[in-house]
Structure formats: C-alpha cells, structure tokens
Symmetry: C2
C-alpha cells in the first residue's frame, strides 16, 4: 500500500475524529446490506450525507474504510480479551468471560461483525496483513487460556490450537442468527455455549 | 421467480446433465475466488471454455448456477444426514457420525461450501426460500438427535435449538481454515470436535 494512502490522524481535531468514527458506523450497515464490492462511493456519500470530496477527506479510500470497520471490531475484541487477562480467575472462568465478551460484541455490532467476517478477503497488502496479525493475536489469547488450563490440570490434554478453533467457530458463528435469537440475551447465549464447552474439556 | 427461468431437466440427456454438473463444479471456485456479484458471465464462459449462448443453455442464469451450487452441497449434506438417520446407534454416536459427515463434505467441497456459506444472501425469491427450507431441514435433524438424546437420558436437559446452533457453528466454521489444517484429516478434526461436544452435553 502506498504510504500516501495511510491516514495520519494524530494531528486531527477531536471533531474530525468523531465525524470519522460516525462515518465508520454509518457505513458498516451499508456494506453489510450490499457487500463491500457492490457498494459504490455514491451510496456511501448518500448514507453519510456527504459529498464525494468530503467523504474522502475523512475515509481516505473505500478500502481504508473497510479496514477501519475491521479495526473497530478488533479494538473491542482485544479490549474484552485484556479485561479477561487482567481478571484473576480460573481458566474455566476466563474462557467463559471471553465468550461473554465476544458474543456481547457480536450482538452490539451486528453489521460491523458481518462486514468483519464476510469481507476480510477484500483487504489487500499491508491492511490484509495487519488484520491477519490482529486476528491471530486474539486466537492466541484463546489458545493461551486453554494451555494454562491444561497445565493446571483444569482442562484435559486437548490440542489447544484445534480446540481454540472449535471454540471460535461456536462463538463467531452466532453472527448469522444472533439478531433473531428470540427471548435470550447475548449473555444467556454465551453462558449456555460456554457451559457446554467447559464441560467438554474439563478434567472432571 | 418466473416459471420460464426454471430449468426442466427431466427430458435432458445424460450427457447434457453431466456437462451441467461439470459446469457447476468448475464455476464454484470462480465464485469462491471473486465473490458471486463480482463474477461476470464472461469469466464463467472462460473457466468453462464455453460461449455465452452455450453456457446459458446449461445454466439458465447466473443465479440458477448459484442455486445449483447450493443444491450440490445440500444434496451431500442430506445424504449424510439420511445415512445417520438409518444407522441404529445411540444419540452420541449419531451426532458424532453427523459431524463426521459434515466436516467431510466441507473438506471435499471447499469452494462449493465457501459459496454456500458466503453467498446465500444473493439468492432471491423462490430460490432463497427453497434454500432456507433445505437448511432448516438439516438443522431440524441436528435438533432431532439432541431431543432424542435428552428424552433417553443420554444428554442433559439443554435447549435443543440453541445447542444445535452451537454444534453447527463449531462444525460449519471449519470452512475457513480446514484447507490449512496441517497434518490432521477431516475425520480427526471431526472426532476431536464431537468428543468435546458430546462430553459437554452428556449426563454422565
């Protein structure tokens, strides 16, 4: 990616940054509805009530906007993972907390997460690599909790990598139906899921 | 969907049908690579080494081709589910068998499954409804195994619908990484996953 495409927002005003955040949030449902490639700049301008020049002033490029939506999800996910890392709890409780954080984010940002999970392949070059590393970082947090639990004897001797993928699939996939989950809250869904998962890997 | 768009292939020759099947299989990776909306008829013609007229002669329309890819996956999935239904096994064994069938299909048809899971929203009208019903039919098979196991006392008193979604997420999500799962076979992945899941819902 050419350097010039990157937005250096360190010198921007709080107002500019707030407007940019708002554009990210307004654009996520537009991408979620029609798909990234099928969404034109004209549609984004209309949704954000901005002219083309003004929109580019905030987003840099359509792909940068996509990357920003990804970062918004990953920022929340890693904040949740940090809260779990800082809590002094057992491995079972840590995994349950992390599941609760993750499904909470999926419920709070359904459109962002849809774009995040469906359109990550549209990111190219440095942006694709950055996103891959951020995802990997989260996956390693899940593996880390599993490894700690195995070492302490709380969990059976499962394969941490494979087991983290089972766990991630179970949780991430809720993005397809969580909006229509009826009377259950995101917290109740997460509790039921992690109850199954923890029993599935516990030594006792 | 206008009736005229439907392909009545009951009077077609075996040769015509075989050619059509081949086109479905060649086109799945093209959609998987670029996405359904971004793939033009010209690209499909090139991949299939056919002129536009000849291609339409077999596929009817681009959306019908997408529906055919979905059906190809669902046919396999339901065949697997029928094998499980006909086996005289416990509920735990039935769920383990079904997981093995499902991950086996995901491993055998990675591109079809990618299109199936990523592009189902591009189906419209009757085709979307037909696909929704076929998916639902499979989900009900999973719920059915869970309900039987709960009644027989093999499984705890979990919510069958919610638990089926946990199970489906854990299995379906493998489509994102199963190609790169290293030394493990699809069968080994399924065994590890269903071992966790069965322990998670078992009464003992």
């Amino acid at each position: 990616m050419p350097r010039a495409e990157l937005i250096d927002d360190s010198r921007r005003s709080p107002k500019w940054k707030a407007r940019r955040e708002a554009i990210i949030d307004v654009s996520a449902p537009v991408f979620a509805r029609h798909g990234y490639h099928a969404t034109g700049i004209a549609e984004l301008c209309e949704a954000n009530e901005l002219g083309k020049g003004a929109l580019y002033h905030y987003i840099g490029s359509k792909e940068q906007l996509l990357a920003d939506i990804h970062d918004r999800v990953m920022d929340e996910v890693m904040e949740g993972a940090n809260r779990v890392a800082n809590a002094e709890v057992s491995s079972s409780e840590a995994l349950t907390m992390l599941g609760d954080e993750l499904i909470g984010i999926i419920a709070s940002y359904p459109d962002h997460v849809w774009v995040f999970l469906h359109e990550y392949q549209a990111l190219t070059g440095e942006r694709a690599e950055r996103f891959r590393l951020r995802r990997q970082e989260f996956e390693q947090r899940v593996e880390g909790i599993l490894t700690t639990g195995i070492r302490s004897g709380e969990f059976r001797d499962v394969d941490p990598k494979l087991t983290s993928r089972a766990w991630l699939g179970m949780h991430n996939y809720t993005y397809l139906w969580l909006k229509d989950h009826g009377p259950l809250t995101a917290h109740e869904v997460a509790s039921a899921f992690d109850d199954i998962f923890i029993r599935g890997i516990a030594t006792t």
